[in-house]
């Protein structure tokens, strides 16, 4: 059940891996679409937290091209609905996330990513 909303917040937390550790890259991702309740206020409130480029790149990589490359100034309803779909309705069920810097592999199984680190990776 990794949604892009959390993926957009998630960086690698391996010891010493502090730069270029975001966003984690999806590999062999299996998607599932599940409807979620639309709440425009939440999306509006969440907008400032989003790292736009990472979100668009990841969405495109996963085959969703509904978002514009640049974050638009005008927030119309259609844009918010698209954003809602990308953030909350795309679930990644299987696959793995890979840190672009240290290449740590966070496997996802059953929709739950395994974030456990080995002893030497703990900061």
């Amino acid at each position: 059940m990794v949604r892009l909303i959390t993926h957009n917040l998630l960086a690698c937390h391996v010891k010493g891996c502090t730069s270029n550790n975001f966003p984690l890259e999806f590999k062999d991702a299996k998607l599932e679409l599940r409807e979620a309740e639309y709440n425009s206020e939440f999306i509006r409130g969440f907008l400032p937290k989003i790292e736009w480029k990472a979100l668009v790149d990841t969405a495109r990589q996963l085959g969703d091209t509904s978002l514009p490359l640049e974050q638009p100034e005008m927030l119309d309803d259609e844009f918010l609905k698209n954003l809602h779909h990308v953030l909350l309705e795309i679930h990644i069920e299987e696959g793995s996330m890979i840190c672009p810097n240290c290449k740590h592999d966070y496997p996802i199984s059953n929709g739950i990513p395994n974030m456990l680190l080995a002893e030497h990776e703990i900061g």
Binding site: M1, I5, A11, C12, E41, I112, M115, E119
Partner: protein, 284 residues
């Protein structure tokens, strides 16, 4: 009270069987729900603003369900795979992570509008291996510093936990303060053995008087029911003392039984006489 955190590490203690037991227990569900509502109250989120919350040690989603009901969007993490499996079965809405909170988080700064954690923190107080990164202070430090950066400024994190001594509270609060948090411990029903609940209420930013320490709930509540229970027991004890127990096998009773046996045609029923059911002298 038995302490599960002393028996085995959480991911082992909450195996398949214990996870099902824990989640299916209605008393547990009730307690967890109550504490989640109380934690949300202490979190004091702005009204009518849908928030993005972190559920630390979400387990099987007992607290997550409440967050769903209340309309929050959330992400949760737990170290016990069996508990997360149960959470999947219960179809909670939040994103789940298999994560050891003692290893810290990797979320970007300012990600969450608040964090709650129900009955989790005490699990961080036991060392599993002798490796330096496994010592409780190190894990707590890592946990609180990464949590602090993960939370928005200003915001709060509320932890309900079961400390076994004041030293533990001291350790936890001092490390949290070093990590940059303000706030402290709120105790609900401090004088009740059963209803007493400890909440660690931490603030991020907000400087000065803006964030005020909430007050713990006092007296009444569950204590009341305890008193009533005592009184009822007292009454029952008095009742048995006052109402004198009747002698079961007195003369009337014997005569009635004999009559009954004769009616049924039982053989060898002794005949009635003036000695039937007489009192005997004490032998000793």
């Amino acid at each position: 009270m038995s302490r599960p955190e002393l028996q085995a590490p959480p991911e082992i203690y909450y195996g398949d069987i214990e996870a099902k037991k824990y989640t299916g227990n209605t008393r547990n569900q009730q307690i967890q729900a109550d504490m989640t509502y109380r934690a949300l109250e202490l979190l004091n989120l702005p009204q009518n603003e849908p928030a993005f919350l972190l559920d630390i040690g979400c387990g099987s989603g007992l607290s997550g369900e409440i967050l769903d009901e209340e309309g929050y969007i959330w992400a949760g993490m737990d170290i016990a795979p069996s508990m997360l499996e149960v959470a999947l079965e219960r179809e909670v809405e939040g994103d789940l992570f298999l994560q050891d909170i003692g290893q810290g988080f990797g979320f970007r700064p300012g990600s969450f509008d608040g964090a709650i954690s129900i009955s989790v923190l005490q699990w961080l107080l036991n060392a599993e291996t002798s490796h330096p990164t496994s010592s409780p202070p190190h894990r707590l430090h890592r946990f609180f510093t990464t949590l602090h950066s993960t939370l928005r400024n200003p915001s709060r994190a509320v932890f309900q936990f079961y400390p076994s001594s004041d030293d533990q509270i001291q350790l936890i609060t001092s490390i949290a303060q070093k990590a940059g948090f303000g706030g402290g411990v709120v105790v609900d029903y401090p004088n009740s053995k059963k209803a007493r609940k400890v909440f660690l209420c931490l603030f991020v930013g907000g400087g000065g008087g803006q964030q005020q320490m909430p007050k713990g709930l006092e007296g009444e509540g569950e204590e009341d029911s305890k008193v009533r229970f005592e009184r009822r027991r007292e009454r029952e004890r008095l009742k048995t003392k006052v109402g004198k127990r009747k002698n079961v096998k007195d003369k009337d009773w014997i005569l009635r039984k004999k009559e009954l046996y004769r009616k049924r045609g039982k053989e060898g029923v002794p005949r009635d006489s003036k000695f039937t059911g007489r009192k005997r002298k004490a032998v000793f």
